[in-house]
Symmetry: D2
Subunit: 372 residues, 4 copies
């Protein structure tokens, strides 16, 4: 597919940290081409390289550097785009994303605004891409447009690690304990005076998001009773209990997360390890093959040394699309207690945990034929 026949996409919030990741990851994409950049009013009409405080170690793609930036609410400017990627703050995402949907656009959003809508899915490609079929209902309602969200960055890592476990053994309860990097807070984000040599044991609304989103993603999308005219599909949360402790640590990129898991049925540590070890070797399921142009080798990596995963050493596995797990062990050393399994995972919070999952979701929709 040459540049002329690629699908044109717009990026909302293109100058922010997640917006920058969209632009970086979409460079040379097989099917999509960034055609319109949207940002806040004060970036309007600037060229991109002047409007952005570029924070990535790779340079701004040369075809993007000199593109003009539009205001995000200049809806007409995005007319030629079939796909809208949203890296907006929730405060403005709520209405803008709805506007683009009613204009018939396929909106893939990192914002939390519509995650909990009854007709909008929260999707991580390797976990619940079957939930994407609910966009058919949206398309009927909104003139062909729809919104697909991806979860909060921590939740993304959690659900990837839990997926093979819940599928094989079931899960009754999970305690999530995060050590999150500062890039998760955007830019300027966390002031250096707050975090250099420090830990901040609080991230606003983060714990609530993890608890809610994990259950929706790992839940079922089922036919409703058909009485509601506007929707024939319904999300049923997974009944597991989820509880989270979230913390900010002085790391630039990569969220490290510890889990304590109560399984749905008895299983040994070895059995659980084998399921996670085996998982990374699987061919990704049919519907998540299109992983940002070329698939990562593994959905999950499991380096079997006791002190892994680490952000410094494991962040770039699978170009940031792989979740690394480690330290799979029993619930306690002396036995007993509520939990069967402990493990640690690492997720690249701005790649798989943000822009990367949005793009994977667009790829899935493209493959399913939801975007024409």
């Amino acid at each position: 597919m040459n540049n002329c026949t690629k699908i044109k996409v717009g990026v909302l919030g293109a100058t922010g940290t997640v917006g920058q990741r969209f632009i970086q990851l979409l460079e040379n994409h097989q099917h999509f081409k960034v055609a319109v950049l949207g940002a806040s009013a004060n970036s309007k009409d600037k060229i991109y390289k002047d409007a952005v405080h570029w924070l990535l170690a790779t340079p701004i793609p040369s075809d993007i550097a000199n593109m003009k930036v539009h205001a995000c609410d200049d809806i007409e400017a995005f007319n030629d785009c079939l796909i809208i990627f949203s890296a907006l703050d929730a405060s403005v995402a709520t209405n803008l994303e709805k506007t683009f949907r009613i204009k018939g656009k396929a909106v893939f959003s990192n914002a939390k605004s519509h995650r909990y809508d009854s007709d909008v899915p929260i999707v991580v490609s390797s976990v619940n891409s079957d939930h994407i079929r609910c966009v058919q209902d949206q398309k009927k309602m909104y003139q062909g447009g729809f919104i697909v969200t991806n979860p909060n960055c921590s939740t993304t890592g959690v659900v990837v690690a839990l997926k093979p476990i819940v599928a094989t053994f079931g899960i009754k309860e999970v305690i999530v304990f995060t050590m999150q990097s500062v890039s998760g807070a955007g830019y300027p984000g966390v002031p250096s005076l707050d975090i250099l040599g420090n830990v901040i044991p609080y991230i606003g609304e983060e714990e609530e998001k993890i608890e809610i989103e994990t259950k929706k993603i790992l839940g079922e999308l089922s036919s409703s009773d058909g009485e509601q005219p506007s929707s024939s599909l319904k999300f049923n949360d997974h009944p597991m209990f989820v509880s989270a402790h979230t913390n900010r640590v002085p790391v630039s990129e990569g969220h490290t997360i510890c889990l304590s898991i109560k399984l749905g049925r008895e299983a040994t540590v070895e059995e659980v390890s084998n399921v996670l070890k085996g998982y990374h070797k699987l061919t990704p399921p049919e519907n998540c093959k299109l992983l940002i142009s070329e698939p990562p080798l593994h959905v999950i990596d499991y380096p079997q040394t006791p002190n892994r995963p680490q952000p410094k050493l494991d962040l770039e596995r699978g170009r940031g699309l792989t979740v690394t797990v480690g330290r799979i062990r029993g619930g306690s050393y002396q036995g007993g207690g509520s939990f069967d399994i402990r493990l640690t995972l690492l997720v690249h919070n701005t790649v798989l945990g943000a822009a990367g999952s949005s793009i994977q979701n667009a790829e899935t929709c493209f493959k399913f034929g939801y975007i024409q």
Copy 2:
């Protein structure tokens, strides 16, 4: 008490990070005077300021700087000391501490070597100073000598925060998640290449220590059946389940720890908060008044802002002898699950979590008349 009548103490491992804290905290102590310094053979006969890589922001006390360093196994050198503080590595502590005990010394140790001995207590002054009475049995056995240990640094913070809760409501289970500073690993300790901008989700043996020590400290010291001639007192572990995840973060000093707690009986978040809020206002119990010359105002501080405690802001509360708690909330936002309470705590790992607790234990023994 002037310098002449103070009790002479020896410090083993005086050049290490914990040894330095002993020397710093004992400067101008009301009852104790550092009289002999012990270190490894290659520091032998050097003067202290040349043997030590001093890492504290306060200067080496002037009366210590030019003292000669002895080899730790030069037992005779410590003849005049009634008290031995041990900041030794476990590898050498096991035998050396026993040797000093059999010489009739009161040994207060940070090493793990004897923590799990059936006749040695693990004591945090504000938590279980009643366990100290078991030294009477040791004194009979070892010609007046005895060993009192203090727990691993993380455990110290955990048991201080749990004490008022277990005393009021009981505790069935606790999950411990730590974010530990590099000073806990001594010097040279953690290489900077491993930890700058990174998290290491593994600390050797740390999780096991937390699980075992918490139960011993919060357990009971009771009369045994009297059949054993050598011991009339026996430690009964608290029956709670304890499970830990331990992590190293790029912080210099101060361990931040999240807890999920299942109570022994039903209680509201408010009731638990009130017990912790109230606790810090208590006069310290009779037997822990002698807190390094002058008592800290609070055993526990509870700043009621949502983003606390933080190492940067709360480490020095009570001169490092106070544990700061925060974020007391329910077990999950949506209800249900195994736990009733979540909270975060901060402990100064080299003050209260190491040398400080050893000194407080010596003060308690001094007050009880176990040291003459």
Copy 3:
């Protein structure tokens, strides 16, 4: 002097990082009492503890925590204050400080706004407190009011270290290389994404400030020819050449600065070392005795170990009022080149480099009788 008879002072910019230092350092001051707090309009009428994002490890002084905050331009609110300490941004300081001066106030400012005015001195107490006498000219012009500034934080450290050298040997040229902490940029200041594990080799206007201010402070204040009616005293810059490279490093507090110095006359490294070694032992000159209630022991410390000064170990010397120097050596190892001496210094940028010097200047004026 009890609280009733202390001089009332107002603090402008009281919620910022330098404002917080003023409040911390003035707690229990012998002669001054913080009576009015000024901040920006959106803090107006809040109580201080709610308006401030307190960043210091010591708690907010209890008598300040519940004081009402006034808008800085509510000039009447400061009527009872003889002294105004200004921690304002230059953008608002320019006019506000003039307004307070014309109201007869003694204004001590950290802002750069008036540093280069021909009738305003830039003063570091131990370096050029004789320059303060120029306030007599201001007092005549402005109804008893005057402005005294202290220099940029890096310059403060530089002039303290250069003072004994220039006084003894003269200085022809100095090259200044800084490694500055993030607290110098205020709050929120430097985003953590920019500085974690990174160096930023640029600080806006900082190099220019160092070059200009060093020459003014080390210059002479002399009688002018008397033809200007408004002023009888005139600043003559020191003729030395000054050139600076300024850099931001991931350190919270404390600026580390390397100097290459060309002396005015030949001298050995030993002679220069002796002058700096000797300097710290001097009784501070008569007119800088009042160093924030009690004098620091040393204006300059010179720990003679090769790897000092370091922010972590030397920052708190003299309660942040002492400059630490180290590594005094020749201009190059092979000889030759433009410079005679290299050395490294450390200055506490928010204590001596900001609020501390302002307070010392107020103390000097108080002692000289310029404040009644």
Copy 4:
């Protein structure tokens, strides 16, 4: 060239940080194949992946992971290698490198041991690859063997930035001020307790190395008078004065270095900028084309934004083989003083500053026909 016909190389010190870089950079090299791994005696006979504490974000090359490690002094083990790359500590490098030379090997060394030998060059490929011709003299002396060193990591960056300037304008004097990352100190290297949130203003022998090596590299290699039978070529140091201040900062990788330069003849800032701007566009000179399989685009990059270069953003330019310069400006803002130009540069200390330059030197020798 397939694997069978590639030149076999040995790596001494293969488990250290520089050794790891050799192995990483030589993976898939066009002409060289790592055939033998050498390390200290306690790694002997282990397989590589068990002997190494791998610190790079890319995995151990699969063909290396299971190779057996030899003791470095097991000379026979390296018999089949034409090339020896040395990442040894100077303490052992001195004799071992001589031994391999006398065995006829082409030794490319990061160690300082032989840098100052009168018949051994210090070479950075893009700067002074003409110095390599002196190996002909060594080959005559040592049965075909020779040693080529590359400079200290900081010096490497300095000479690359100075080369176009000295070639065009001449240089009389340069002041070097470094902010060096911890990877320069190897592993375990700098303890985290020493550097977290800190600056260490001293690196042993580093300043001397910069002063001496810069002058040798930028000097001339000329015919001597021919009277010495063992050598027909002689190094003449460049007569510029060099003076250095070296500092360690909490950065993992990448040395940031400020320079003050006195030119040999008058030139404007614009002229100097143009020479540096132009330089990076040049085709690398004929004799340094073989830059680790494929040349980097630029020897020097000059991003013209005021706050660059930065380790975080510019380290990976040219795969770590490009030096980034920035902030080219006059010697001072007010004019006057000894220096004409100030600038800042960044060098990847373990790629171009260590293993990368060694490999480029081997490539140059290979191209020149010195290795058969």
